[in-house]
């Protein structure tokens, strides 16, 4: 219990810092979060015999939703319930897409913040099909920043664009990726 509160407080602080522009805090928050999310999403989906790669898709979807909707977190409140609500929402979406009964154990979710960061190979799992939703320059930009680790400025110089244009493209691509998940057909 104490652990969970301490972790939530740390996350709240990191997110506050991130929202006011601290990229290092944001990176730390998302790394930490994705580890915990991975464990809890797998536990949550465990009962519905989904492959682990699908759990990783949900983790990515949650990371994107946290990013694109971070202005809906009320900074005067703890961040835990907000993250939990987003995670639950995306897990239910995933199960619905598969036409299974919606059965996300909410009680189990409440403890997810206590879950340790079980590190395993899944963080390296390649959800490659998602990137296919992007085309042309947009895809090139996401690839250069996400996979090759270039900065927006580098990419701008290399592609002969302004830095602002690169940032706009990146933001639009992240939105597209988030929508791509939603439209993902059941396989």
């Amino acid at each position: 219990m104490q652990d969970r509160r301490a972790r939530e407080n740390e996350w709240s602080q990191l997110m506050r810092a991130a929202i006011s522009g601290d990229g290092v805090a944001y990176q730390r928050l998302l790394n930490d979060l994705s580890r915990v999310l991975r464990a809890s999403v797998r536990r949550g989906l465990g009962g519905s015999d989904l492959p682990a790669s699908d759990a990783e898709d949900v983790v990515q979807e949650v990371v994107l939703a946290i990013h694109l909707k971070r202005h809906t977190w009320d900074q005067s409140k703890p961040i835990g319930p907000w993250i939990m609500a987003i995670t639950r929402n995306k897990m239910i979406d995933e199960i619905r897409r598969r036409g299974r009964r919606t059965e996300v154990p909410i009680e189990g979710m409440l403890e997810f913040l206590e879950a340790g960061g079980q590190d395993d190979a899944m963080h390296a799992y390649d959800a490659g099909r998602v990137l296919n939703g992007l085309k042309g320059k947009n895809r090139e930009i996401v690839q250069a920043i996400a996979i090759d680790g270039h900065t927006a400025k580098d990419v701008a110089d290399r592609m002969g664009m302004t830095e602002v244009a690169v940032r706009v493209s990146l933001h639009r691509s992240l939105k597209t990726l988030s929508d791509t998940y939603q439209e993902k057909p059941a396989t």
């Binding site: 522009g21 998302l30 790394n31 971070r70 202005h71 809906t72 390649d126 940032r167 990146l170 992240l174």
Partner: protein, 213 residues
Amino acid sequence: MKTDDLIRAVVADNASVKAPISRTLWLALGAGLVLAMAHFFSLLGVRSDFAHAITHDPRFMFKFVFTLGLAIPAALLVLRLARPDGAAGWTKWFLMLPPLLLAGAIILEMQAVPSDHWAVSAFGSMPVACMKYIPILSVAPFAAILYALRQGAPAHPAAAGAAAGLLSGAIGAALYATFCVDDSPMFLAIWYVAGITIVSALGALVGSRLLKW
């Protein structure tokens, strides 16, 4: 793309943060109100004895107690339901207050007006116009609030849409009340409530389609 790659892309997009959702919603509500008022004055305008009625006629005043009594908790409800972790909470109890007051007002009306006159009170002079204009006047605020809600992340899209419909319907009803000459609480309970209900139901329908995220 690996999750770590995605995180790198997300961090690079850190500067894109939007204004807090509550601010966006208040701005949208303000814009919606201004637009609805402009719409109202271009279509109808206040009734000729408005200044006298608003200060002297308790039945006329009650129309605003009812409509604004719905609009205020509906606005708080929209603010709450715009978030993924939002729940109606205590706002739903405040929403029950206007219907209770209306029931009380009807009982008083029944005592003040002889029973052979009740039908006249309930149907008033322009019942259909009321049901027509409340939805028409709620279009602008609904569009503004819906736009703002789309920036949010409502856990329950249909509920958030219904709350937006209730708020816009109550705004439309409050505006229409300044024009309408039918002041009986019985009239209010039928025709105003019908108009507001139509907008809320449409709100739920639109919300369930447009507010997923």
